[in-house]
Symmetry: C2
Subunit: 206 residues, 2 copies
């Protein structure tokens, strides 16, 4: 039985507006764009409401009122990244599908800008202030939305047994990459993706 990848639509994290048209929406976009730029420039640790406000051309108090904490501000700004979900390849073979998919992830993690954003998300979620567990779950589920189909296709082709756990396979595939990039900081070697794809596949067939 393969666990489904539910795409929970991530709610916004700023305080709910009762008059969300025109100005509010405009300011919201200005602030979140500015926040992303600030995160790329200085990381989560250096993120400040005032710097964001200045960059956005908005009053600091406004930012404080709508996003009371740094973690809410940062997470809200980063939710859009989840939409840029991992592209799910369809090459005709599981092994190359998995390898391609991991290639894309590693490429993102090797891009300094994206790495900064992921680090920021990680740091924000570690901030004990707000409980972002729901939001985070939605973020990561959305990011691997569609990967379930990749596995389903493989099952249909007979490359994998029909009782595989899609979620487990994807987790097995991608976790070493995130572990290196976000936890240990180890660089990626050339054979990394190939090795991980093979390993995940072998595990899935066991």
């Amino acid at each position: 039985m393969s666990k489904s990848f539910s795409l929970t639509v991530a709610p916004t994290l700023d305080t709910v507006r009762e008059r969300p048209g025109g100005r509010s929406a405009r300011i919201r976009k200005l602030v979140l764009d500015a926040t992303r730029e600030e995160l790329i420039a200085g990381g989560y640790g250096a993120l400040s409401h005032r710097a964001v406000a200045n960059r956005a051309g908005v009053d600091p108090a406004t930012v404080y009122r709508r996003w009371p904490t740094r973690s809410r501000l940062a997470t809200d700004a980063l939710l859009a990244v989840a939409q840029a979900a991992v592209p799910v390849p369809d090459t005709g073979s599981v092994e190359s599908d998995l390898e391609r998919m991991l290639d894309g992830i590693v490429a993102a993690l090797e891009d300094p800008t994206m790495l900064r954003l992921f680090h920021a998300l990680s740091a924000a979620s570690a901030d004990a202030e707000a409980d972002l567990s729901e939001t985070l779950r939605a973020f990561w589920d959305a990011r691997f939305e569609g990967a379930g189909e990749l596995i389903a296709r493989a099952v249909k082709r007979g490359e994998l047994p029909s009782d595989v756990d899609a979620h487990a396979i994807i987790e097995q595939l991608v976790s070493p990459a995130y572990y290196r990039a976000l936890v240990t900081g180890n660089p990626f070697d050339p054979e990394f993706t190939h090795r991980c794809a093979k390993s995940a596949l072998a595990a899935a067939r066991a």
Copy 2:
């Protein structure tokens, strides 16, 4: 060829003292202990030199002078955790060895106190200010010091081919656990360790 797990002795991160005896050493311990308590209490985001100094009964300026940045302070305080390395079991079979080892890791990650400390380390390493890559590498290498022997024993018993990459196996084994605990925040299900141990083993034999 199995990559070796080098135990690089982690250097201290405070500014080098020319008179490290007596008082300096005493204050160092007071501060680092206090830092750990502060991290457990409020996480990395809430860590402040002043709070640490007050808890340690030391002047804030002293803490600032020896640990100029929060990330250095936190990381230095957490290096000791690496010494409490993962216990490496020796049950006579690789599969149960791996499962036991992962059990220990998951147990630590499920302990709120330890989880806070790991999250703090992660957040500190994400802080762009200082380059802690060397230190982090030493930390994680030290943490899995001894795991290489576990694999070597398995090879000697003929349970694994002689050309396995010990580092890769351990990474494959533990990364899903850290990925869940530190990145996605997903909880652990009961079969998690068993499944991961089997997967890592299947991958190693492929």
